[in-house]
Every structure is written in C-alpha cells, then in structure tokens.
C-alpha cells in the first residue's frame, strides 16, 4: 500500500519505518545526544507541489519519537531544518540524487549547526534511506 505524501498516515508510516531500521538505529545512535536532533523537512512549493509542506521528525539516539506535518517552517521543537524545492526532495527520496550531494552542493539548504549534521553523515544517510523505503504516492 502506498501512502499519500503529506498526510498524517505518511508521517506515521515514516516514523514506523525509522524505528524498524537497524541501519538507522546503529548509524544514529549518537544523534540528538547533547543537542536537539529534531529535523524539519521543508518541502518548498514548486510546479508539482502547490503549497509548501513541513514535516517534523522527532529523533533521538536512533529512534523516532513522532512525525507530524506542521503548519509552518518555524516550529519551536526544530533542531535542524533541511529545505529544498519539492522536486529535489522527490529526487532524493526516490534515490535519483544522493542527499549528501544535495546538501554538500548547497542545493538543499540547512538551518542549524551544519558541522553537527555533517559529522553525523551516516545518520542522515540512513534516515533518507528509511524515507525512501516508505511506499509513497507523490503529487504531480
């Protein structure tokens, strides 16, 4: 069953996928230790996505404590924001573009301590892999 992107069901399926992933559990075991590891994915509106969407992932020590689409880009619980046009996100989520390449070439913008995010490169990579593993019905 494919989950419709942008829905509460999609967010829950993603959180469940993260918690099922031994790859993420190991790679992210130090993520969020001593800092706020919550990630906000900002899907900016473009031709395929008429209105921007914001997905908040509550992440700590290799575990997802919840995932919700939130109304705007400045949620107080956010530790880091990853921001990109929706089409780039889709390329990342469907593995046509490496998340690392998108981040390191500046196409995907980071808000938060970039060095911390880069230091935990394995955590980010395995998180994106979880996201790509959720069967998804994308708009557009």
């Amino acid at each position: 069953m494919a989950y419709r992107f942008g829905t509460a069901e999609y967010a829950k399926a993603l959180c469940d996928e993260i918690n099922r992933s031994s790859e993420y559990r190991n790679a992210a075991s130090k993520w969020g230790v001593g800092f706020n590891g919550n990630l906000l994915f900002a899907f900016e509106a473009d031709a395929a996505l008429p209105k921007a969407l914001y997905l908040l992932l509550r992440l700590k020590e290799g575990h997802c404590d919840g995932a919700d689409f939130v109304p705007g880009p400045s949620h107080p619980d956010t530790g880091f924001t990853l921001r990109a046009p929706f089409q780039l996100w889709r390329d990342v989520l469907e593995r046509r573009t490496l998340a690392a390449t998108a981040i390191l070439t500046g196409k995907m913008k980071i808000e938060g301590d970039k060095v911390t995010l880069l230091k935990h490169a394995g955590s980010s990579r395995s998180l994106i892999h979880c996201t790509a593993s959720v069967p998804t019905e994308f708009p557009g």
Partner: protein
Amino acid sequence: MKGRVLDSSEVEPERTTNFGHVFTARPGAVLEPAHAEDVAGAIRFARNEGIPVSVRGAAHSQSQIAISNGGLLIDMRSMGRIGPVARGASSVEVEGGAVWRDVVRATLQSGLAPPVLTNNLSVTVGGTLSTAGVGVASHRYGTQGDQVEELTVVLGTGEIRTCGPERDPDLFWAVIAGLGQVGVIASARLKLRSVRPMTRTYYLLYDDAHRFMEDTKTAMDSERWDHLESWASPSPQGTKPVSGRRQVFARWFFPFHPTVEFDEGSPPDDRALLDGLHPYDHLYTDDLPTLDFFERLEPVFDLWKRGGTWGHVHPWMEVVLPWERTPDVLEAVLPDLPPAILVGGHVLLWPAKGSTSRSKLFRRPEGEDLMGFGILPAIPAPFWDEARPMIENLSRLVVAMGGNRYLSGYVDFDEEMWRAHYGDAWDFFEAAKRRFDPDGILNPGFVPLRAPARKG
C-alpha cells in the same frame, strides 16, 4: 633544439594519462627537452602558434594535469641532472625533472638530505614543488617548496627567469604550489640538512581518535622527533547495511610512527622519547639506515604494482584540516568508508604546524596545529562510476568542515570552489598568471585562472 620531439602517433599510452587514471588525452606532440633553452624555445613557438602547453614529470597527478589534449606535452624527465654535493654543503642544484630518490641517494653520500621528502620518492622535484610537497618531516620544515633557495623558471612567454623567496618573490611564490600555471621549473636550488645515518621508529597504535590526536600534538610540540607518520587503519568487522546495501565495515585504529635519527653506537633513549605518550599498544621498534627509512614505502608500492592495483583509478582525496575539527571529520568519514577501496591504497594522517610554511598557494586553514588527512583509494576502473559520487562528496564534506584540499589528488572543483579554495590568494594567483603567462598557454584545463584574451 637538442631534445627529442615525438609526434602524436609516437606517443606511448603511458603519456596519455597520469597516475589518477581518471582522465586520458592524447597530445599533439611530446618534447623531451635537453635543457632550459629547449623548454623556452618550445614555449615561444607554442605561444606564437596558439598551442597549449602541458608539463609532466612523473605524472603522479590525478586531475586534468600532466596530460595534454592535442597540445604540446613537455616531459621533464629528460632533465634530471643533479649537481655536485660537497660534504657540508647547504644546498644542491637539481633540474626540474630530477627524481627525489636520485636526489636523496646523491646527497646522502655526503650525509645530507633535503629537509622534507614525500612518501613516494619516484616523483620529480618540479612536480612536487608545483604542488607544495609534504612529508613526514613537514611538522618541522613545512613543505618542500619552503626549502628552496632559488628556482630557474621558464615563463609562459618563453623567458628564462631566476627567482627566490627574496629575489622576485612574486614569481617564486606563484611557482611554488602554483600547479605549473605561470612557468616551468627548469631547475631548483634545494636546501640540505645534516642527516644522521640511522633511524629508530616506534610503531605505536591507538584505538581512540582523541587520544591519538593528543599524542600526536604532544609529539609535535616536544620537538623530539625528526619524522611523524600516522594512518587510519581499518580492521574489518563484517557487513552492515549502508543505504540498504550490505557492505564491509571496519573498526578504525590509528597507527602512529614517530621516528628519530641517531648515530651508530649512540641509540636513542626510548623511555625519554616516549615519555608523555599513551598508546593503546607499542607494537614494534625498528632501526633502519636512514636511506631505507626514506624509502620505507617502496616495498608497499612494489606490492601494489605487483598486485595490479597501481593501474587502478586513483581518485586520491587529501586535505589539510583544522586541528580541532579533525575528530569530527574522522567520525563523519570513517564509519562508512568501505575498506575494500583501500586494497592498494591507505588512509594517511599527518600532523603539521601552520607556521612552518610561507607558501602563498599551498592553502591551509588558519591556526598553528593542523592535520593532513588523505584517503588514497585504488578503485578498479569498472567501479569508478559507482564510487565517484562518494569520492566527490568526501571532498565536499571535508571542505565544508573547514579543510583545504591538497591539490595533488583528484579535484573536481567548479570555479566558485576554486576561488573559495584560494581565498585571498586568488587575486595574487590570477595576477601572476596574467603577468607571467599572458596568453594562458601553460597547463590549461585545471585551475580556471583567467589570462587576457589572445590578440589576433
């Protein structure tokens, strides 16, 4: 012209690529010059005809350098003469195509050696001076470029000019680590230092990056050691998923090999030397004649050659890191680095002091304590396309974390990254290019320096 000229049809495959085996290009002609006047004459001819000129030594480069696509390739290995070395001399004159091994063997006969030697001694003086030249004594003496008294350079105009740190310094510092952009190094007067005949190396091992960093700094600051060499070494543990695909992963250890030179019959005091260091293990203590120490990696390179990995793709990624950022970089990079790409390669770490170098174009982060970090893989050609994004992202990651790439390796910068790399030295470099290679004919295809447009 006393040298030999080969036309395109006579060019051997070896001279259509370099050690990187990433790029190939067939030159229109190859010149093996006999002396500086040959180089000057060829450059004047090429300038008049609008022919690009690339320069090659041992071609240990891995980017679009030391190869030529349809232009003139000057192979400097035909100019490898080494001047006489008197006992007690403070310098030696060598030609740009001289191989460092030959220089060392010549100078050691008088108990002397250049202060900084690269790990691989099969490379040429002109080649490493054009890149900077770092080695296990760089923590004391900076780069090889910092240990040059004088250069004779053939400019992009064909003029032969002599320069040094005090004599025409703008030219000198544009040639040192200048990637051949302003001139061809015809000869160099290299500083020499006295060398003791024996070395003792302590094979120390660390299981913790922070402890390793503490001890390398202690060793650097103590000034007890003549040479400091270190590595990151993988111990494969099994497989784990990386983006869903299982790959071998490793626990990483950090070998640290501090070395002192000594005279026969006066061995060093081990206890005093090692005081203050806290390795996980002390594996071995090795005494070697100093020449054998300088050539210590030859058996390793020989093994790589016999094993076939010398012919693999070598997209080496070397960087100079801020000291305090190094543990973060190691934590970011090593856990997912597949040990298999290091069959025929290795991961180097070299502690260094920023103030030891005066070079303008050897770029390094601010701060006195620095750490060189090199991932030197050998990748079978069929796997290069698959590995390429990983290597390119490693480069971007270390730069994003404050590092400056060391440019002997595989570099895929766009113009913005080149400018960021050189920072406030970019204008100096571009001005030197305009002044000394006004038609922009030297070593095109790598650094996007702008020379004035050709007239006519």
